[in-house]
Symmetry: C4
């Protein structure tokens, strides 16, 4: 077995101890990268913290760069990897850092590149051990796609009907809160998803009875996709069992 095969086994496989260790290390690195990214946005950080975050970012980028290089090296068909979903994620994880440096921007001024670092969170999907589950989610999406889109359409229709209705019921009683239909849409969204922040709610008897009907019809529509995707996943699992 050549060196390249051994490395491939570690990076792509989960059968060996080294493979699993690589997976866990990568997971830790990604989580650490996300954590530092979010912490950076806290206002009035001390200078020492900012400097630490900068060194941490340099090390993280270096490690991700090595990982990217290794993955190109071990790829059976280089370009296919480079333009695959995983390959692009790996590139986006490191490229902004170098671009910022090359453009002569100050070392500390990573603001512009920061937004791109967010996409590192997508690297969580790269972890090998969930390949089969990811495939099952894709299959479930294919199975339930048409219904999902229809549910989305129904949700949009429901949101508009609810917003228009509540506007006519509540506008007179709360002209500042239910100012217009676009304003009422915010209520419709918070209510139909059952988030219910409590910043807007009907106070008239008519508006509350209307809310009852909206919720009776709307709950089934807005909460539907979760159950649908779950049952599609179950079907995808059955298909897999039938095949294998």
């Amino acid at each position: 077995m050549t060196l390249r095969d051994t490395v491939r086994q570690i990076v792509d496989g989960t059968d060996t101890f080294a493979g699993r260790a690589f997976d866990w290390s990568l997971l830790a690195l990604i989580l650490w990268s996300i954590a530092t990214f979010t912490v950076e946005t806290i206002p009035d950080l001390e200078n020492a913290t900012v400097r630490f975050l900068w060194y941490s970012e340099v090390v993280i980028t270096a490690l991700f760069t090595v990982e990217y290089a290794v993955r190109i090296w071990i790829a059976e068909r280089t370009w296919r990897y480079v333009f695959s979903f995983n390959g692009l994620i790996d590139l986006v994880a490191v490229a902004p850092f170098y671009i910022t440096l090359m453009m002569g921007l100050g070392a500390m001024d990573l603001r512009a590149a920061r937004a791109f670092r967010l996409f590192r969170v997508l690297q969580l999907l790269k972890i090998r051990r969930y390949d089969r589950a990811v495939a099952r989610f894709r299959r479930a999406w294919v199975i339930a796609r048409e219904e999902m889109v229809l549910y989305l359409l129904l949700t949009v229709i429901m949101l508009f009907l609810s917003a228009t209705g509540i506007y006519y019921f509540e506008n007179a009683a709360q002209p500042e809160v239910f100012k217009s239909i676009p304003h009422s849409l915010w209520w419709a969204l918070a209510t139909l998803t059952t988030v219910g922040y409590g910043d807007v709610y009907p106070i008239t008897v008519g508006g509350r009875i209307f809310t009852f009907f909206v919720l009776m019809v709307g709950l089934g529509i807005v909460a539907g996709p979760a159950g649908l995707i779950a049952s599609a996943l179950a079907q995808a699992r059955r298909e897999e069992a039938d095949r294998g």
Copy 2:
């Protein structure tokens, strides 16, 4: 192939590029129509905006009118289309505009017709590409109708029992909030659907323990239909696969 067949293929089909383009254009037009409808309700709009919305409405109505005429022309059985769900929606989308004009109402005074324009949101269901999914939803409704109605009955029963219970627990402590059972129904609705605006909530120990029991029993009832319709959709899909 006659001109009528070609037009039919574009309007009703999704196989050709023109057919898909028509679908997307129609979708854009409907969404634009809904957007302008909601924007009109914003108070204190500038004159220029109001004028723009008026011209936009004229154009939208013209386009929907042409669409309606074309659909009548290509319909294999004219009257069947006119009185079908889609036909009525198409009529309702344009008729109010002309009625308002004919009745000699001022050009800008479309308030009366506005409420009807809302129904254009239902045109979203007309988009051809979801015909199969719509049929599946209808089938799912037939499968689960009896249970859905029973769930609704149970929800109504649950709402009344909860409202009555909380009224007896909280009325003494919060006479202004839990003023009567009809007032308490508003709490029951917000709680059982888990919206929880936060405008009314129990503060006594008894009322909170009662809320625990209400939620334990009620969640399964109120959240049930979403899961039920999802499983009925799965069954409808299986039946389709068995047939096809």
Copy 3:
């Protein structure tokens, strides 16, 4: 066909027009009865309204009494009906009214009997047309009972663990809000059921991170029974189809 058979067909059946009309009238009567019951609790009602509600109650009770008598008359096995679930509901719907009168209480003083009138809401379950759906719910309950009870146990465990945890995190920062574990249980209930009134919520970083873990584990547990009963209903429907 004897008169008794004809009446039975109307009261118990849904095949004839008269049978369906009876069902709908009964539904209307029950809903009217519930509506007046709740309205009575509104404070400071006008005298005229109170008198109207009293006469309405006399009429409703009379009609329910006639219905009860008819049902006893047409029952094939009288005592079996009297002690059945439906029979007891029918008795509870009228008995308190007569007891109050007999005990010489003032005609208007129905407070004592009022609580029992609430149970008329259960009469909604008596409507014949849902007999099959009710049977399916019973079957679904038998299928999923053990898991439902276990879900309930897990919910109770989850509530206690969450309340204890948040108490240790938040007690120092909000001693008045998270005063003790029983007080924290109220937060746990509102959070795990996703009601989220907003009267209590964590403000410390530790408490918020704890809330994340609580919700990740807890949502699946608290929201589980709804999906479970839905899938048990689907199974009950399949069994029915296999039999019939």
Copy 4:
């Protein structure tokens, strides 16, 4: 049948009346133990109450100790029981009390041991009559584990993307509320789980439209596991029926 067999039948079985009575007594004892545990945290309890709770704790511990001793006695393989999940729970339920006493701490000063008493809530899972349901839950977990973990990953990704997005939309308008991405994560958690306390919510148009998209995508992800575990439970039940 030896005495040991009889005791075993009572403690482990649910076939006899004594067995069921034991189960119910144990359940009552556990619930009582939890109740006193939570009540103890109420501040400013009267001396009489504190003393009562202390005696109650002594009796509870004594009973749990007897139960532990009996379970060791009747265990077919002593050490296997001692190190089993149930055995460890039983030990943790009593050990802290004795350790506190031996260490010479004041009789009333059980604070240190209190945290461990919380784990008695787990004894609820020990009740024999749910053994089959517990086994089914374990099986359901094995069936759906990969998807559950992927759902968790997607939830984490979704939380971070939402928090970052809302931070950019709302930070300018509400710098004190959406102070940084870690602060915005709290909003993302309360929103995606639909808890919606109402302490933080977007007020800009951009932030509200963003919330719409976040909820449309996020609801299916966060609410998914509940449906998934329910369908996995149904599958576990089918497998059981096929076997038995």
